[in-house]
């Protein structure tokens, strides 16, 4: 019995070794086939957008395209900022302070992805129950800070990485 076992073990080792090498080989071939579907270099090259904001009046907003997605740039009035900051955190499904959604000292500028966090539609501005945005697809309501207040969307509208290049230009991405 023990002799036979030894023989079997030797063969087992060869099988296991072959299967392992085979699996690594298959994996090495499969990964490029999967990864080719990820964003290519041309897509990644579009990763930043610079926007001139000198013409935006208080209370107005513009929409620009960044990585194929709309970005809302809103210059908020002092009243709107005050309204956003007066909200009780307990009323928010995804609690986040308005201060954390803007750059310090540039509180009037709200820069966020204009993409509903439910299923990706573009919300309409100045609509909905909270003076902010309303998504027509499945009825999510956002407030003046772009935070989710009512509806199926799970989180606030996303704030992309951005910076002020100078007082008139914002770089997104």
């Amino acid at each position: 019995m023990s002799k036979e076992e030894k023989k079997v073990n030797r063969r087992d080792f060869l099988f296991t070794a072959s299967y392992t090498v085979g699996a690594v080989g298959v994996g090495a071939v499969i990964w490029p086939m999967i990864d080719q579907m990820n964003p290519d270099k041309a897509q990644q090259a579009l990763a930043t957008t610079e926007v001139d904001i000198s013409n935006i009046e208080p209370g107005k907003s513009i929409t620009v395209l960044w990585r194929g997605k709309p970005v809302f740039l809103k210059r908020r009035t002092p009243e709107e900022i005050a309204e956003a900051r007066a909200v009780n955190m307990d009323d928010l499904p995804d609690p986040q302070k308005d201060e954390d959604r803007v750059k310090e000292g540039k509180d009037e500028w709200l820069v966020m992805l204009g993409v509903c966090t439910h299923l990706g539609c573009v919300p309409l501005k100045d609509k909905g129950d909270f003076n902010g945005w309303f998504c027509p697809c499945h009825g999510s309501h956002y407030d003046v800070s772009g935070r989710i207040r009512k509806g199926p969307a799970p989180t606030n509208m996303e704030i992309p990485k951005f910076e002020f290049v100078n007082s008139n230009t914002i770089k997104i991405g």
Binding site: P39, Q43, P70, G120, C121, P136, P152
Partner: protein, 419 residues
């Protein structure tokens, strides 16, 4: 499968058949013993084969003129409609063909549900059929994206975003599906590639579906096992082929009615507006055949929950053969289940209706009631009714009720139970 050996008559035929028994297969398909009581609900298998071939042929032709690029796709579809010889006809056949395909497949599925065709020993046929149905939905969804209109773009956005509900890896998966950071040219390109591939996968599964069918043979309206060949069967050709052909003709008249008189009635006018990533149409609705699932998705006030429930609504069908506890196949002999069957039909139609309506007020209430019943039907009604229901006596053979006037059916049932 076929018991009797087949020998081709001609020498050349025999020579070839000895090397590749295609003629034996042909003879099997011709003589294949079929229950003699198959009604018109059984003609949809043939109709579906016709639909698949129509989609493949028209699709290959359309691909000769279509350009899968975000800047050119919309214009190339209009080019097909206006400039290509008979392009309008081919495209309308293809777009309405998708709807006709789903119409036929839904009738085919509900036929199976009514007559218990998914039950032992036909579970594998049923599961392969569901895989075909899943691939059909994928193909239809990707095909709808190709014209790159507003509904194409936003439908694609909403559906691909379903995957972003998956915890942790959701966003990476969505980006991977897009090949970009939103639905964009790479998305269109790969959808075209897959849209071209899937029909051939379906074709392969159809072969397996029919192969699996030919092992136990057809179920029938009475739902009993029959001896093959016997007094209860007729050869597939010419009896079934001629019946299928007649049903197909009627189906083609309806099909042609859509193509020639109301080619856009099942589509959405917003898809004649080129895709615009900055503006979402006011009402995003999927094509009619996906509406019941869309209603289920929207009935849940939670993103992940809605997605899970929607996929469950399809995947629960895979375990249906094991959820149904009744020994009797056909609903003809199941007085209680029969009523629940029709409630399910109404339920699914209602879900389809509310799926097309805005998700608010009474529609939301109806969607929730409909969703709850949908799941109750499979998880509770089917196992419990199958267990408690007193079924009507089933005949011993298909011929019996005709030849004996149904005398002593209870006796017949006892004998049948033993067999």
């Amino acid at each position: 499968m076929s018991e009797q050996e087949y020998t081709p008559k001609s020498k050349a035929g025999k020579w070839f058949n000895d090397r590749l028994p295609l003629l034996t297969l042909g003879a099997h398909l011709t003589d294949y013993p079929t229950p003699k009581n198959l009604n018109y609900w059984w003609t949809f298998g043939g109709i579906l084969t016709f639909c698949l071939i129509t989609q493949i042929v028209t699709g290959i032709v359309l691909a000769m003129h279509y350009v899968a690029h975000a800047d050119l796709a919309f214009a190339s579809v209009e080019h097909i409609m206006r400039d290509v010889n008979y392009g309008w006809l081919i495209r309308y056949i293809h777009s309405n063909g998708a709807s006709m395909f789903f119409l036929a497949v839904y009738i085919h599925i509900f036929r199976s549900l009514f007559y218990g065709s998914y039950k032992s020993p036909r579970e594998v046929i049923w599961i392969i059929g569901l895989m075909i149905y899943l691939l059909m939905m994928a193909a239809a969804f990707m095909g709808y994206v190709l014209p790159w209109g507003q509904m194409s773009f936003w439908g694609a956005t909403v559906i691909t975003n379903l995957f972003s509900a998956i915890p942790l890896v959701g966003d990476s998966i969505t980006t991977w599906l897009w090949g970009a950071y939103s639905v964009d040219n790479p998305t269109l390109n790969r959808f075209f590639s897959l849209h071209y591939l899937i029909p051939f996968l379906i074709l392969g599964l159809v072969v397996l579906h029919i192969w699996a069918l030919h092992v136990p043979g057809n179920n029938n309206p009475v739902g009993i096992d029959i001896k093959k060949p016997s007094k209860d069967t007729v050869p597939f050709h010419p009896y079934i082929t001629i019946k299928d052909a007649f049903a197909l003709l009627v189906f083609m008249i309806i099909f042609a009615g859509f193509v020639f008189f109301t080619p856009n009635v099942l589509g959405h006018s917003d898809n004649y507006i080129p895709a615009n990533p900055l503006v979402t149409p006011a009402h995003i609705v999927p094509e009619w055949y996906l509406l019941p699932f869309y209603a289920i998705l929207r009935s849940v006030p939670d993103k992940l929950g809605g997605v899970i429930l929607m996929f469950s609504a399809i995947f629960i069908l895979f375990v249906l053969p094991w959820l149904d506890t009744s020994k009797v196949r056909s609903a003809v002999f199941r007085p209680i289940y029969r009523q629940f069957f029709w409630i399910l039909v109404i339920d699914v139609l209602m879900l389809g209706y509310v799926g097309a309506m805005p998700a608010e007020g009474i529609y939301l209430v109806l969607a929730r009631v409909g969703t709850i019943y949908y799941f109750l039907h499979f998880i509770v009604v089917m196992p419990v009714v199958g267990y408690l229901e007193k079924t009507d006596p089933i005949p011993m053979s298909i011929s019996e009720p005709v030849l004996t006037g149904g005398a002593e059916p209870s006796l017949a049932r006892k004998i049948n139970d033993k067999v």
